[in-house]
Symmetry: C2
Subunit: 193 residues, 2 copies
Amino acid sequence: MSDSYHHGNLRQALIDAGIKIINESGEESLSLRKAASACQVSHAAPYAHFKDKDELIGAIKSSVTEQFMEELTDAVNGAADAEQALVEMGKHYVSFFIRKPDYFKFLFGSQNVIAHTIPDKSFAEDYPPFVLLKSTYLKYLKEKKLKKSKEEQEVELLQLWATAHGLASIACMSGVETTFDWEEMLKGDRLLR
Amino acid sequence: MSDSYHHGNLRQALIDAGIKIINESGEESLSLRKAASACQVSHAAPYAHFKDKDELIGAIKSSVTEQFMEELTDAVNGAADAEQALVEMGKHYVSFFIRKPDYFKFLFGSQNVIAHTIPDKSFAEDYPPFVLLKSTYLKYLKEKKLKKSKEEQEVELLQLWATAHGLASIACMSGVETTFDWEEMLKGDRLLR
DNA sequence: CTCCAATCTTGACACTGTAAAGATATTATA
DNA sequence: TATAATATCTTTACAGTGTCAAGATTGGAG
């Protein structure tokens, strides 16, 4: 308990410090030494918990992805039916990153989130946001009693994901408020019908 | 002409060296000093041509974007009609980055391409790939004699762009060959009709 | 109580971006 | 053409970075 030498929970503290730094001054200013000193610990202490700077970054990405998933899950659970759940999920997929563009740059920037988050990369079948999208979409098909071939389902799923992800990317890239109308895109026989 | 002290065209040489480094070992391994030494020049020489590392990176991004535009333009010009031009442009938008995932990470990664490429950021109205997409789309509307409101046009344009960009992003992220069917997405009353 | 493994510190190294001061070549000026 | 101004490049220096090695400190298992 004597907290001179042993921090107690340095691993989590480093992750939190990293997130704070990213929020305050962006990813590019995140360094192992800054995170360490934010935890009042020597510059080499992180190496007891992370093999690499990359490993710390991977842990931070997982943590941010959990935040992201929390919002998506809430959006889906709060919807009246599966169709609205799809709409709300897409809306939040985009608006989350518009509110936190630094998160988007961090997650989908230089490195590979998916490779970081999931071990075996069988496309994105294990990537949490995609898993949630897929299950919601399947519920939607059942709800509307729509019969589609596997191929058609894959195309629609990928298109839904790509549209939301592309919008988020474009918005975060340009830094300008994109006046997109997500409902307009989904409805009107465009992506869903 | 005595090429001891003065390089002759160091600015362009640095850009080329940067591109080569990115292609060979990714963006994260690109440093001013490496680019300088690749041009057989001292490590501070770049500062005669670029205020910053950021400024060199901006120049490289412009150069890569030109390459990208070349392929898109060829695709559009080689098409029989405007509809096929739209399809081909989208196809190449994605496949270009699948062939060069490091380019995608570099362009749309940590920094802001659009802010780099164009001075005043009025959304993306000046971003070359978007400009080409827009003109092609308008030609397509005229060709098919389709009347759409300004709002509907904007939604469709943004959706086209987001879909292509999202697919590229997802493909480059996961690192896995995405078996997407671009034509399937565009045709079949999905994005175009 | 002792010993071991986990955790943390200290010191060192190579590499980075960038600034300042000086050297050299090119261009403009007179 | 001679000289001055400017652009280009080198050298030196410094703070910050990731990472490693060696040692100090601690909590816990036996």
